[in-house]
Point group: C2
Chain length 345, copies 2
Amino acid sequence: MNDVTPKSELNIRDIARLSGVSRSTVSRVLNHAPNVNEETRQRVLKVIDQHNYRPNVAARSLVTQRSNVLGIYIPYLVDELFTDPYFAVLIQGITRCANENNYDVMLWLQEQDNVGEHLHSRVMDSRMADGLILASTPKYDLLPLTLLERGRTFVMNGRPWHQIETMNYVDSTNRQGAQQAVEHLARLGRRRIGTITGRLELGSGTDRFIGYRQALQRLNLEVDENLIVEGDFTEAGGYAGMRRLLVHKPDAVFVASDHMAMGALRAIREAGMRVPDDVAIVGFDDMPFATLATPPLTTIRQSVLRIGHLATEGLIGLLQGTITPPYQVSLPTQLVIRESCGFPA
Amino acid sequence: MNDVTPKSELNIRDIARLSGVSRSTVSRVLNHAPNVNEETRQRVLKVIDQHNYRPNVAARSLVTQRSNVLGIYIPYLVDELFTDPYFAVLIQGITRCANENNYDVMLWLQEQDNVGEHLHSRVMDSRMADGLILASTPKYDLLPLTLLERGRTFVMNGRPWHQIETMNYVDSTNRQGAQQAVEHLARLGRRRIGTITGRLELGSGTDRFIGYRQALQRLNLEVDENLIVEGDFTEAGGYAGMRRLLVHKPDAVFVASDHMAMGALRAIREAGMRVPDDVAIVGFDDMPFATLATPPLTTIRQSVLRIGHLATEGLIGLLQGTITPPYQVSLPTQLVIRESCGFPA
DNA sequence: TAGAGTTGTGGGAGCGGTCCCATAAAAAAC
DNA sequence: GTTTTTTATGGGACCGCTCCCACAACTCTA
């Protein structure tokens, strides 16, 4: 069928024979073990190099019981409508840290159809990954519990919904972030502060919403249900949400993600209103495009790259036993003031 | 170090013992081999289910010499400035098709620092993946040649720069697409048609530029070097490019990607000019956000999801011997008329 | 009813590594 | 100069699976 002669791979015995030593010695060279004569080592390395020999990973992991592979599980349809850069950046952060530590990365994405079961069994079946990172798992997704039950090692990105005491996770301080946003708007004299929430079945969505309410209460501002619209973290959701919100004439809106904020800005522009003059906007995430918005977006910064990095670092630590579970990290957020909410007087 | 007792995994012998058959029979059940008594099969399946047994992938691939893993290689820094949804969608297309065919997906991303060597050796060393998909490889990236030399199976996304006769690839008809764009602008009466090119060390960048020139020549329009600006496929590049272009007063611009077109629109807006009245714009890609632009973007559609799908399908076919190399696919593009270039009279 | 074919099952070898243990040679200690 | 320790190396067992071959029991054919 195939014209290419599959160059029969050499194995460790071949290398041993070619360099006149035993398999054990070759293995020692490969694994940087001590007690190998320098001359011998060089000889073996030369043969390895000449023949482009690479140890067979399957054989190696069969005996070591490790694969040096981390899995990323994204139970979240990468939105077709306006692809969310959040995940691209997160994946980047994870792979970078993984590669630095000599791990490769395996990817499991949610599909439209396999809403749960299929993907779960894929993830569970393939015992290929030593450990997993679960990206923003929704409330109804029970994979974390299953993994816990099976005794597998994993770190969640975003706080868990269940068994929070025992789970490993890295999260931003979403409540505090939302509070910062609302407090900033209040400080600028805004009083009718609305919100477009994120997906409430995600921890980040719920927590930012809670933070919003807490801030209003703390500031003794009325919580007007008309000024609360449920969004879904998409641009389209932000657009739709803002259109509904505008009817009730807010003078400021805390939008739970920059992505949605872009949609919100579009809706405001279309309505012929001005930002920040008529409506002030604060987003969340500080995505790369926040500075490019018109006007540039005031937002709450969280470093997604850093979240990915910390999650990976934690996972590797757990796997290697240098970290004792639970590994739980909260990353502070930061208010970034740009023009979409006007400057303080 | 670790409190969790690592639930000692059962192996095929355990399952055999527990269900009172031999390893061979369990193996037959696992692999849906014929000649297994129905009653026996059920008994074995029950034991497997009760104990959540999963065959060890390392052991299996050691003997079958297959891993059922595909690798994706992205030699392209996922841009921090304005993350390109192209890759997110491509990855989605690939993993979907891979999963449908019972393959898992491994990811290798370019990092800032490992500009070449590091990543290459990662990819080459890990013989874990049965085959690879290379996403938009630049001219100077010699990985395809190395892989070819080593006899490994891979499909390129975007046409190769070398050994084009023997390489497997899936590409859009970029030249024709660019021609469609320019011809459309000419048809609408535009004469000073400029372009912001993509990264010219990518096939797509070069081909779209070639298509632009060919179209002008075919239409007997002058090729004015002042109306040609080299871009890099980023939003920021589009913005910068358009600012330079505006000085020479084009009445239309073919922008080699929607992503750049967003930046171009921003530059035009800032300059106080109007689209399409003063400058008509045609993009390329038909990204999800093209409809959301102000004004909605006329563009050349290519289905990135489909490209990913076809590349994966091809790769799997090559691996399984149902496709004979070279596997070379060209996907037609399609002009999508929206408002950024005005409607035909 | 003997011979040939079919069906269901078990056991051995081997995939390509790692790691423990044995051992020879060299170096250090007394 | 003998004993002890260190250094360098080799060989066997094993990781958990697949696949080939052997073989028993049963069915079919003439």
